[in-house]
């Protein structure tokens, strides 16, 4: 597995855990290929999540990133590939 794919996999695990925590469900119940919308995130909340993510990756992330990459799978690949993100910092307490 190359570095980008490894980063994408790591980001994917992180996003699954994050989403599971927000939704208060079992991480195993989350299918990364399903859309965020399927998990109850409407188009406006997707903007908010993009801004929250941006603050944790030191990269400029379009506020509409989750509209263009509407699943955990596609978003992880975009972050690791095009934006060269290696990890997402945990949210400050």
């Amino acid at each position: 597995m190359d570095e980008t794919a490894a980063a994408a996999a790591k980001i994917q695990r992180f996003l699954i855990a994050e989403l599971a925590q927000r939704l208060e469900i079992d991480p195993n119940a989350i299918d990364p290929r399903q859309t965020f919308e399927r998990y109850g995130m409407d188009s406006l909340n997707a903007l908010r999540l993009a801004v929250e993510l941006e603050a944790r990756i030191d990269r400029k992330l379009p506020t509409t990133a989750l509209w263009d990459y509407p699943s955990i799978d596609s978003l992880s690949k975009y972050l690791a590939g095009e934006l060269n993100v290696r990890e997402i910092r945990p949210e400050p307490v």
């Binding site: 859309t35 188009s43 903007l47 908010r48």
Partner: protein
Amino acid sequence: MHIPPQYRTAESFERDFGDPADPHSRLSFITALERDEREQYPSEQHALLDSWHFPELYIPAECGGQLKSFEEVLALLRALSRRDLTVAESHVITFLGALPVWIAGSDDQKRLASGLIRGGGKIAFALTERTHGGDLLANELEAREDGDRLLISGEKWLIGNATCSTAMTLFARTRAEGGPRGFSLLFADKRLLDPATFHHLPKVKTVGLRGAELSGICFDRCAVPAAACIGPAGTGFELALKALQVTRILCTGLSLGAGDTALRLAVDFAVTRRLYGGSVFDIPHARSTLANAFLDLLICDCVAISAARALQACPGQASVWSAVAKFFVPATVEKVMRDLSVVLGARFFLRDGHPWSMFQKMVRDSSIVSVFEGSTLVQLQALGLQLEQLTTEPARPAPDLGRRLETVFSLRMPLPSFAPDQLDLFSRDGDDAVAGIPFLCDQIRSATASDASRTAMLRVSAEQQRLAADVRQARGQSGRSAALLQLAKRFAHLHAAACCGHFWIYNRDILGEFFGQEEWLSTCLNRLRSEDGTMVEDGDVERELLDRSRHGWLFSAVPFQLASQGTVNG
């Protein structure tokens, strides 16, 4: 008093169109009332505006027009709206229709739109549908690819100028599954469409704006070229929301114009009407109601003017400034009118009897402003979504915050050209007006010896802290919960208070003696704190009100010269 140059266009409009109370003026109250009774479309009045080159202000300077400053457009809309909201609303729709083209259109589309506007044509903005209201992503009208063209099928309803427009900006589903990337905006020249594939729907009867044309349009496999798409396919939802950020700010000019006429009529009435051996103005409650209405308009003004400037100064924050302005200004003006109707007594209810009957027309006409282009509730939801970011104080204030505040609020500061590519649906930078409150407290402390202003400002600062804590506690609440909307409302009031303070700090030496003294400021800040607005009895405010009425100065932080002659005698 120094009226900044961006208000000269509105002043010259006033001179050219004269006093609307004069039946012989070009846009008089009496003809507005007569047309309203007949529910007649204001075509002649539009022709007057067109020959005055009013539509040049709808075309950006880089496309050959005169649109350089949204603040200037806001002032002009106000001067027009104070005469007749029906004329104003049905004319300015073209600006809304063209905005997506200015923001994201091709050079060809920009040429087409500006040529059409110059030729007196109208552009409608066909966004909503009969069964979906503000739920844009549920819209059904579709544009299906068919080779190098798109085939449109479906209906748009409650569309201003749907029938009389020459062209139309159309919100269409371009991906069957929909979603935020499933819609596009199309710019369709109706003259080029096959008439067999579309028809207009009848004008809908309305309570206000009775002469305007609110109708609809129905398409059945109507072909437009693929190049009709504004910007890349799938960006229609984003583009529509960005265009609305601009128009939600500018439409406050409609409310403010209506508010000015309502207050002017009420003052005239109160001064001339004799009751109980004196004038209505001699009755303390009536006098205080008028003075408080004036203060409310001043608050609205600080919110609206700064929002119009923010569109150019900090376009990335427009999602916040537009939501506050659209939430706060129309609803406050509606409340002002309700308050003023008490002073007018039965006159507020009469459709007969010039000039007071203009009051009821203004009430009816302006009541739609808080509903269209995203209702008051939609604005609170938009703020609710961003509340955490908006109320979290950054570890370090942005180093250039002072300069940014000065650019937004100082009417002397030149503004950068509008950069539509910097509009964003979520403000990464929060809200400069509210972020600047600690800064503002320091400025007010050094600028005034008045305890009233200092104390009022400290209370604003305390509310900022409280709100931040309450928002943290409400974390995780759904964006539509009543509790979160209440917090959003508090935020809007906080933003309004901050705008009043900043506005005073940066303009107190240019906007005349009344504005320069801080009494109005502390009174307004206190008024914003209480839900029903603390009533004040203040001789200075009352005197200023009479002065402005007498001299025909706008009831505004920027009291430019109107063509109106008040009936108030010395």
